[in-house]
């Protein structure tokens, strides 16, 4: 069986090329633009965005997948940039808080956050907004319970939660 497996592997394709551990050219599509950057494979998407592409909107809170401050979209789905390797994002579309404005104007969710004072220190806000917009795509903004539940991956140490939910409700109700 093992022999068959090896033969099959040789028949299918040449062995995959190994990259790293030192810096490698990595092509990232971020907010619609293709960006070439030299990265070690261990570099997280969050560090690539903040330290290499100077997109510092996405925040590093815990760096261990707990706080949600680094929330970005990969292929339209919200994920945690701190637990994502940048090199693994090649060929995928990355969207950050810097990429959500419409014709240079703030996204309606950004306006609603300002309107409802949905932050205090503001550190978690980019992640909150990336999750808040994603709720609609997911269909998770219908009820108050859903909003609370599906925003729970974004921690706000200032506890601006009621205002964050109010901002989300406003965008939802305006859309209806």
């Amino acid at each position: 069986m093992a022999t068959e497996t090896r033969v099959a592997a040789e028949g299918v394709a040449e062995p995959p090329s190994e990259r790293g551990p030192s810096r490698e050219p990595v092509a990232l599509r971020v907010n619609g633009s293709l960006r070439d950057v030299d990265l070690e494979p261990r570099t997280s998407l969050l560090d690539a965005l903040r330290e290499h592409l100077q997109l510092t909107g996405s925040k590093k809170g815990c760096d261990q997948g707990t706080c949600g401050a680094c929330t970005v979209w990969v292929d339209g789905r919200r994920v945690l940039a701190c637990l994502t390797l940048a090199i693994a994002c090649e060929g995928h579309d990355v969207t950050t808080i810097e990429g959500i404005s419409v014709d240079g104007e703030p996204h309606p969710m950004q306006r609603a956050f300002v309107e409802h004072d949905a932050f205090q220190c503001g550190y978690c806000t980019p992640g909150q907004i990336m999750s808040a917009i994603a709720l609609f795509e997911e269909g998770n903004a219908t009820t108050e319970e859903d909003i609370a539940e599906f925003m729970s991956g974004n921690i706000c140490r200032c506890a601006a939660y009621p205002n964050i939910r109010a901002a989300i409700r406003e965008v939802r109700d305006a859309a209806n």
């Binding site: 069986m1 929330t71 693994a88 991956g153």
Partner: protein, 330 residues
């Protein structure tokens, strides 16, 4: 994080060959456990083999009603798959009660089964921990063990298994399909999880480089009325103190089939076979439920700070059974 090299593979054979042939290599799927533990210095890999391009992300139904969940299907996608919601609601509920939507969008089903324990002594990278460094001892035995196991533990390790969905999967006799250097095999999920015993560092029967390819849910009629309850310190985005997956089948006024599994209280997703045995053939009453719950917890070994879990687990079982029974009322 230590330096790592990276390889993206396009077929299972290449993945298995690359990892299987190199003790320093590991698979990378969603990364929610792997990247976290590499950064913490708890796990060590020189090379990550990215398997996300493999065609293992589908959920399909076979002719006989079996559901095959691809190992790379994401938690959020499986939770919202209609056939899973209809036939195995407890599986869907358990998925949605775990982690956050961001993590559920990332985490694969195969990776979920393989996730490591959340014991802080394991994760801190320095405390004595037999799972991380065999032979160094278990800091949780006399330490802060409020979240730890009361069932299936040993003097070597009392860490609870953190998965929610695995609890539902053990209740329904799921089967784990793998591919390795020696070919493919199928492992009952109950056998997939090993008790810590004297070797808590060995959690699964998988060989190095053996890859989970799919999770099979065999046709299980009672599972269509199943449910999953989770009790924790906060309402969302928290691991279970106690959780329970329950399914009942009634026939002629008595219980003909009962499935009960516990999370948050044991070193593996815990099939409550003692409880099930008490329930089978019994009338579906509060007394039967209480007797079944007590039977399961007879062998519980509470520690300094987690003794509350005994009563909590019993009540969780009773409440789960009560709710399952109510499901027949309508």
């Amino acid at each position: 994080m230590q330096p790592i090299s990276y390889a993206l593979v396009n077929d299972v054979e290449a993945a298995v060959t690359l990892v299987g042939g190199d003790p320093g290599s590991a698979f990378l799927a969603g990364g929610t456990t792997k990247i976290d533990l590499l950064r913490l210095g708890v796990e060590h890999s020189d090379r990550l083999v990215d398997i996300n391009a493999l065609a293992l992300a589908d959920v399909e139904e076979l002719q006989d009603g079996t559901i095959l969940i691809g190992a790379l299907a994401r938690m959020s996608d499986v939770a919202r798959t209609p056939i899973v919601q209809e036939r195995f609601p407890a599986v869907s509920e358990a998925l949605l009660l775990g982690a956050s939507e961001q993590l559920r969008n990332m985490a694969s089903m195969g990776g979920n089964l393989c996730q490591r324990v959340r014991c802080s002594y394991f994760r801190d990278g320095v405390s004595p921990c037999n799972k991380r460094e065999p032979g160094t001892g278990c800091s949780a035995l006399e330490g802060l063990n409020r979240g730890h196991a009361i069932l299936g533990a040993s003097e070597s390790c009392i860490a609870t298994h953190p998965s929610d969905v695995a609890v539902a999967l053990v209740a329904f006799d799921a089967v784990v399909h793998t591919a390795g250097l020696d070919g493919q095999r199928a492992i009952s999920i109950d056998d997939f999880y090993l008790l810590p015993g004297d070797t808590p560092q060995i959690e699964h029967p998988l060989a190095h480089g053996e890859l989970i390819t799919a999770i099979e849910l065999p046709p299980t009629p009672p599972a269509a009325r199943s449910l999953y309850l989770k009790f924790r310190d906060r309402k969302s985005y928290e691991f279970a103190l106690v959780s329970v997956a329950v399914a009942l089948e009634l026939n002629d006024g008595s219980i003909s089939d009962a499935r009960v599994a516990l999370g948050g209280v044991a070193t593996k997703p815990w099939r409550a076979r003692h409880a099930e045995q008490e329930l089978r053939g019994a009338p579906p009453t509060e007394e039967s439920f209480a007797r079944a719950a007590a039977a399961e917890l007879v062998e519980a070994q509470p520690r300094t700070y987690n003794a509350f879990k005994v009563a909590l687990a019993e009540r969780a079982i009773v409440r789960g059974l009560r709710q399952a029974l109510n499901g027949f009322a309508g």
